[in-house]
Amino acid sequence: MDEGLRSELNKQGVFTTTVEDIYNWGRRNSVWPLQFGLACCAIEMIATSMARFDLARFGAEVFRPSPRQADLMIVAGTVTKKMAPQVIRLYNQMPEPKYVIAMGACAISGGPFKQGYNVLKGIDRFIPVDVHIPGCPPRPEALLHAFMTLQKKIGGQPLTGPDRPRHLKADEPSEFPVPKFGAKDLEPPSNSTIWEAPKVERDE
């Protein structure tokens, strides 16, 4: 609808909207995170939910203990290879629409412990990540900024058309295969449909 017409109607006391606007407004202003912290970034996440940097004023009212009731998983901390299948299982148990924020260097790519024998080099090897927050640990303001970025992303998702989100497309998977414990490494070491090692072009 034309913005000029809309503001004219607003002045007369008639407010118009679209289903898409209301739907996305509701979704983005009530994103409930899953209570899921792994390591040091979890402390920063807890600090963000406390009085000084309150996350609840953005709609993350409660951190749900059960994945069945959550729509956001903030992966905060180093994901070890031993823990990785459980993280993916929890992600699979969350109902659509669901989002993932990879908080901190360890969740993005393994972080300072990347060469460790038990460190998964980034949770985006197995589940799709919507927002990455760099930092070690990122400040609470950075987590708030990431939350707002996620809200903008949710707000901009159309309901119809090819850009519609994953939960509205019938053939997109909402559960991802859980890796098994192999003899030397996880099997498979990454999910090749959603992640590929970045290739570097070096000019010689």
């Binding site: 290879k81 031993k82 790519s109 393994g110 990347k114 060469q115 024998y117 038990n118 080099k121 980034g122 414990f181 192999g182 003899a183 030397k184 490494d185 070491p189 090692a197 970045p198 290739k199 570097v200 070096r202 010689e204």
Partner: protein, 210 residues
């Protein structure tokens, strides 16, 4: 607390079995006692219960991997060469077989002294990898010996619950050993250096910036 030599003498008087002092060359000079498998548990009980020592707190148990080492020694030897004896410099190789070791740090909460460091060595690194567990003496050693079993491979006898701690049960290697080869899972590194730079060079065709 009395000196390590005095402790060693009292241990040898009280418990039959050999105890050896392993000197520490560094500035810390924390010399340790190497125990043998047969008498290790009784020596540990003596250290814990003796009224002058009362070492009741096992603060740390850690593992060490000593690789098989070959040392080349050059020495002058008189040899018969072409009918006459000559001084020849000969290179001899001394092979020291490697072993795994668990190191215990003991303190006394009651008498407020310590540390006394114990070392338990295995036979070698491949087939004789057992050592007696000191968990029946100090409960604090339980999880730490599990970690050593997981990361180094020392099988502790009489441990109440010996299974892997940090790695998953189906894992088949011991990550902290010197010869551990990690799975080839090289991912992009923005600023590689040292071993990671070697991995980067092996994976990418081109030299890139050093």
């Amino acid at each position: 607390m009395e000196s390590l030599e005095a402790i060693k003498e009292r241990i040898e008087a009280a418990v039959p079995g050999a105890v050896e002092i392993v000197a520490n060359q560094g500035t810390a000079a924390e010399h340790s006692l190497a125990l043998d498998h047969a008498s290790a548990v009784r020596v540990a009980e003596f250290l814990r219960d003796d009224p002058a020592l009362k070492l009741d707190y096992c603060s740390n148990v850690t593992g060490v991997d000593w690789l098989d080492s070959v040392e080349k020694v050059r020495e002058k030897v008189t040899k018969e060469v072409a009918g006459e004896s000559k001084e020849v410099v000969e290179v001899r190789e001394i092979e020291t077989p490697g072993y795994l070791e668990s190191v215990y740090h003991l303190y006394s909460m009651e008498l407020k002294h310590g540390p006394v460091v114990l070392r338990l060595r295995t036979g070698n690194r491949s087939d004789q990898i057992t050592a007696p567990s000191l968990t029946p003496v100090w409960r604090a050693a339980e999880l730490q010996e599990r970690e050593i079993f997981d990361l180094y491979g020392i099988v502790f006898e009489n441990h109440p619950d010996l299974r892997r701690l940090l790695m998953w049960d189906e894992f088949e290697d011991h990550p902290m050993r010197r010869d551990y080869v990690e799975p080839d899972d090289y991912d992009y590194e923005p600023t590689p250096h040292d071993e990671v730079l070697d991995k980067a060079r092996a994976h990418h065709t081109g030299e890139g910036d050093a």
